[in-house]
């Protein structure tokens, strides 16, 4: 099976995920907006962001933050980790010049009636230790070397 497989039995409630840090530039914001096909000007036009949105600069859009959270979580789980559910809430905007730091903690580990193991995570995107976006993630993990969450379909997949 693929390398880098995190098994459910290796995960404990309260366990911290490794941090991920990234310096945000205008390129980060604009590349993220274009990669998510978001052409709205507040994500690439500083004048518009300042005059219409009343903020200091262009800022990261929601779908691209989701992509960052996915990358952060699957860096930890490896490719066998299968996202089931994400809920995120934006508290403040992320701008060029910010250093964003992703932090996460396991809030629970459980198996459902079909035997699918899930880890629930509380993840934050922080700037200067302030949580700008918080995200609750449910990710399925294999229970052993033979298990593959991606093979689950229909009633076997209830995230």
């Amino acid at each position: 099976m693929a390398k880098g497989r995190l098994l459910a039995g290796q995960v404990k409630t309260g366990q911290a995920l490794p941090e991920l840090a990234c310096e945000v530039s205008a390129t980060t914001v604009i590349l993220g907006a274009l990669a998510t096909r978001d052409w709205r000007p507040m994500h690439h036009d500083r004048d518009f962001a300042q005059k219409r949105n009343g903020v200091r600069d262009i800022f990261m859009n929601t779908p691209n933050q989701a992509a960052w959270f996915e990358r952060y979580v699957t860096d930890w789980t490896g490719p066998s980790g299968r996202l089931g559910r994400m809920r995120f809430r934006m508290h403040d905007s992320v701008f060029p010049g910010d250093r964003m730091v992703f932090r996460g903690k396991v809030s629970g580990v459980a198996s459902d009636e079909s035997g699918c193991a899930f880890a629930d995570l509380d993840v934050e995107l922080c700037v200067a230790d302030k949580a700008m976006t918080t995200c609750q993630v449910r990710v399925a993990l294999p229970v052993d070397d033979q298990d593959n969450p991606w093979a689950r379909r229909g009633a076997q997949w209830k995230p």
């Binding site: 693929a2 998510t36 992509a67 996915e70 490719p79 089931g84 809430r89 991606w150």
Partner: protein
């Protein structure tokens, strides 16, 4: 909340719970845009880059689950189009009908079901779930609303549901 708000226009009340704007994506799910997405966040997950791993785990390449909405965001221009098409049209309808020129998304929940694969052609529709009475926040005076977006593949299988909470507002003078 929506039912007890006499100031909410009847037209908007009628939208609540209704399936609206059912459309098919303008283009197939394709790997080029998967690479663009992965590059934007430096996502090296081999499911998207390594055919052997993808074959072993997912029976072939899949798209990152969080790209769900990307497949419905229209091109900025297309021949013959006279108006810019807007994703999440219900959100923009609410802004226009309620006279709220600015808006932000405050909360987003996504449920992922069947994997999305290159070559898929997805369909989607939107359902307005609720609209709040007027509230004042640090941004201005406005209303919160919740919109669900359903996604299915060409086999009619659900590939996911997104639920958005938006806040439309007027900036304080």
């Amino acid at each position: 909340m929506s039912d007890s708000d006499p100031d909410l226009p009847q037209e908007i009340r009628s939208w609540i719970g209704q399936k609206r704007y059912e459309v098919q994506g303008e283009f197939d799910v394709e790997r080029g845009y998967v690479f663009t997405s992965c590059a934007s966040v430096e996502n090296g997950n081999p499911l998207f880059w390594d055919e052997k791993v993808a074959q072993e785990l997912t029976g072939g390449f899949v798209a990152p689950p969080t790209m769900l909405s990307v497949w419905f965001r229209p091109h900025h221009w297309a021949p013959g189009r006279t108006e810019q098409a807007l994703p999440l049209q219900v959100h923009f309808d609410l802004k226009a009908r309620l006279g709220l020129p600015e808006a932000v998304m405050t909360d987003n929940t996504v449920l992922f079901r069947e994997p999305v694969r290159p070559g898929d052609r997805l369909r989607t529709w939107q359902v307005l779930r609720s609209v709040s009475p007027e509230k004042r926040t640090k941004l201005g005076l406005g209303r919160f609303w919740v919109i669900d977006v359903e996604y299915v593949n060409q086999h009619g299988e659900s590939v996911g549901t997104e639920s958005y909470t938006g806040f439309g507002y007027r900036r304080d003078a």
